[in-house]
């Protein structure tokens, strides 16, 4: 029973389970690259919002009709914008997004280096008196 339930759940999450496992695989692969716009932190593959199911069916229909992965991606971007891509494209408006973390990392390393260098302690200079006292204590 549990197994049947699990299986039907898995089938449901793939949208309409087709007859063609090769197509299923392509639909799923593409759906993991696309964002569900209703539940924005999920991919189209993970979401079961009604719109996500509709869009997965769109993906399936178009792939089945012989369109390429890029055709389907273009179709989605034309309607929903770059936001629909789970991996944002690298362009002028997203440069800060891609380069930002590395810049912050570099900045952090620079700060760290500066701090470590600043911490280098001066060799303590003992006066003649102190030396004599230390020698005495060590005797």
């Amino acid at each position: 029973m549990a197994r049947v339930l699990l299986f039907s759940l898995a089938a449901f999450s793939l949208g309409v389970l087709g007859q063609d496992p090769e197509l299923d695989k392509r639909v799923h692969a593409l759906a993991t690259e696309l964002r569900c716009l209703v539940c924005q932190n999920q991919t189209l593959a993970d979401s079961n919002a009604p719109l996500a199911i509709d869009l997965r069916n769109q993906v399936r229909e178009q792939l089945k009709a012989g369109k390429s992965e890029q055709d389907v991606i273009d179709f989605m971007v034309a309607r929903y914008g770059d936001f629909v891509l789970y991996r944002p494209p690298l362009k002028a408006s997203t440069l800060a997004l891609w380069a930002g973390p590395f810049l912050i990392l570099l900045g952090g390393l620079w700060l760290l280096a500066r701090r470590i260098r600043g911490r280098r302690v001066e060799e303590p200079q003992l006066s003649q008196e102190e030396r004599a006292r230390a020698a005495k204590l060590l005797e």
Binding site: L37, V38, Q40, P50, L51, D54, L55, Q58, V77, A78, R79, Y80, G81, F83
Partner: protein, 173 residues
């Protein structure tokens, strides 16, 4: 001198985050602004044997409002849509709904739409990049989408954005 950088950096970070929190992640900029309204031909909600196409509105400024009887925010914005319909033609796109629910809904709440088209499968809505009902589009005389609002219309949006834009477009003739 050195001490000042830490609090300064902290304040800058707080400001950045505060700014980020004010943005609404639901407001996804639509790539359709400035593009021709996607073509469709759909049956009317009231008369399944009649059809309507976006081409039928060429030469007029009009508003396309995506709605459904199962959508509470649609009911919330309904008075504003009604108000809007006094100054501009509003066409309804009835989204993933059933006629037996949608028609009584209009009877109950009033029908501000010049007409509603019936998109039971939601396929045309996908062409319009709809991902949450309600959504509202302003389309000009040449059939180009000039504005899109996602979510229920508020009096502010209607008065400050929609009404002036409609007026401006209408004046252009």
């Amino acid at each position: 001198m050195k001490k000042i950088w830490l609090p300064l950096g902290f304040i800058a970070l707080v400001l950045l985050l505060a700014l980020g929190l004010q943005l609404n992640p639901r407001e996804v900029p639509s790539p359709l602004i400035g593009k021709p309204a996607p073509a469709f031909e759909l049956p009317l909600l009231h008369a399944p044997d009649k059809r309507f196409s976006q081409k039928d509105m060429l030469g007029k400024v009009w508003v396309l409002n995506v709605w459904a009887s199962w959508c509470p925010p649609c009911l919330a914005e309904h008075p504003i849509v009604t108000q809007l319909s006094k100054t501009v033609a509003v066409v309804g796109l009835n989204y993933k709904d059933a006629r037996e629910d949608a028609l009584p809904w209009l009877k109950r709440n009033g029908d501000p739409y010049q007409l509603s088209v019936y998109d039971a499968a939601g396929r045309i809505a996908i062409d319009y990049g709809v991902y949450g009902v309600p959504e509202t589009y302003v389309i000009d005389q040449r059939g180009v989408i000039r504005y899109k609002h996602i979510g229920p219309l508020t009096p502010e949006v209607a008065q400050k954005k929609l009404a002036p834009l409609v007026k401006e477009l209408q004046a252009r003739g």
